[in-house]
Symmetry: C2
Subunit: 205 residues, 2 copies
C-alpha cells in the first residue's frame, strides 16, 4: 500500500500544536480538546483534528486529548524526542542572542559551536562558547555529524556560507539573512525575516 | 460587483517577492520573469503569476516584469511605500538586536521607542535609544498614533503586555515570545519562534 507523504504545511503546524500543549502542561492541565486548542491558536478545531488524524488516533470522541500523551507523540513525530546539536554561524547581535537563549535546548536543539570570520570576534566568549574561526567550519562540523545550522550572517555572505554548510554535511538551515538561499536537494532551509512578517501585517493597516 | 478579498496566504508571499526584486535591483538588474523569480524562491512560476495577477497586470507576455516597477507596485500594495513607526517592548537580547538593526528602516519600519519593566534597563542606551519605562507605554504610544509593535518579552509576560499594546492602539504585533496571543478583532499578530522552524525541519531529518 502506498503511503501518501504528509503535506509540508501540515508538518509546519505540528510545532505550533506541540508548543501549545507544552504550555498547557506547564499550567498543570491534563486534558484538552481540538476546540480549546483551536481557540488558543486561531486555527479551526476541524483543521486540528484533520491534521492530527494524518498521524494516528490521539483522542477519543467526547473525552478529548491527553495533553502529555499527545505532546510525547508530536515530539516523536517531529524527532525532538531526542536532542539535535546545532551550530550558529555569525556572532553578531542575532547569533549572540541565540547562543545565549535557553529556549532552544528545552525544545530539542542544543547549540554546540558558534563561528564567525571576524578576527576581533574569533576566540571571544559568547554565553558558554568561544567563537570559532569559520575557516575551520568544515573540519569541525563534518566529523561531529552535526546536521542543523542557524545562519545569522549578512545577506551578502549568506550564500557563500551556505555552500560551506552543505559541504560540512548540514541538512537543515535556519536562515536569518534576508535573502533566499540555493541548496541542493535533501537540504532544507527555513527563513526568519522580521520585515516580511511586518509587511504582511502592514497590508491590512 | 463584489470584490473578493485576497487570501492571507497570498498576501504573505508578496513580501518574499518584494525582497527578491529589491535584491535583483541591487544587483543592477532591470527585467525578470516569473520563471527566474520562481527558481530563486523555490515557488512555481505559475503560482507567482497567479498571485501577482490578483493585484493587476504587472508584466507583458514574453517580455517579463520590469523589476523597479513591480517592486514599486508591491511596496504600494503592502503599504510600505511609506514608513511605519514601530515600538519594541523588551530590551533583552532580541529586543536590543532589533533596536540596532538597520534592515528594518530600509524596508518600511522605523523603530522609535523601546520599553522594558526592568529598573536596571530603564534609561540605559540601546543603539540610538534610551529604554523607556513600560509603565508609561500607553501614554507615550497612544498620542503618537503608533500602530506597530515588536514584542520581545518572556512568554510569561507576553499576554499581559499584549493587552497593554492593544490599549495603546497597536494594531500589528510581531511576537517573539514563544506563546500564542489572544487579541481582539482588528489586531493582527505574527509569530517568530526559531524552534518551530527547527522542529519543522527536524521532521525531515
Amino acid at each position: 500500500m502506498a503511503v501518501k507523504p504528509i503535506p509540508n504545511i501540515v508538518v509546519g503546524r505540528l510545532p505550533i500544536y506541540l508548543r501549545a500543549l507544552q504550555r498547557m502542561s506547564q499550567e498543570g492541565r491534563r486534558v484538552t480538546s481540538s476546540q480549546e486548542l483551536g481557540e488558543r491558536l486561531g486555527i479551526s478545531a476541524a483543521q486540528i483534528r484533520k491534521d492530527l488524524s494524518q498521524f494516528g488516533e490521539f483522542g477519543k470522541q467526547g473525552t478529548g486529548y491527553n495533553i502529555e500523551y499527545l505532546a510525547d507523540q508530536l515530539q516523536s513525530i517531529l524527532k525532538v524526542d531526542r536532542v539535535w546539536n546545532v551550530i550558529i554561524v555569525g556572532a553578531g547581535d542575532i547569533g549572540s542572542a541565540l547562543a545565549r537563549y535557553n529556549g532552544l535546548s528545552e525544545r530539542g536543539f542544543r547549540v554546540v559551536m558558534i563561528f564567525d570570520n571576524d578576527p576581533s570576534k574569533i576566540g571571544q566568549p559568547i554565553g558558554p562558547f568561544h567563537v570559532k574561526n569559520i575557516a575551520n567550519l568544515v573540519e569541525e562540523v563534518q566529523p561531529a555529524g552535526i546536521k542543523v545550522a542557524i545562519l545569522a550572517v549578512p545577506a551578502q555572505q549568506a550564500q557563500e556560507v551556505t555552500d560551506l554548510l552543505v559541504e560540512a554535511g548540514i541538512r537543515a538551515v535556519l536562515n536569518y539573512a534576508p535573502i533566499s538561499l540555493a541548496v541542493p536537494e535533501g537540504v532544507r532551509v527555513q527563513y526568519i525575516d522580521p520585515v516580511t512578517h511586518l509587511q504582511h501585517m502592514s497590508y491590512y493597516l
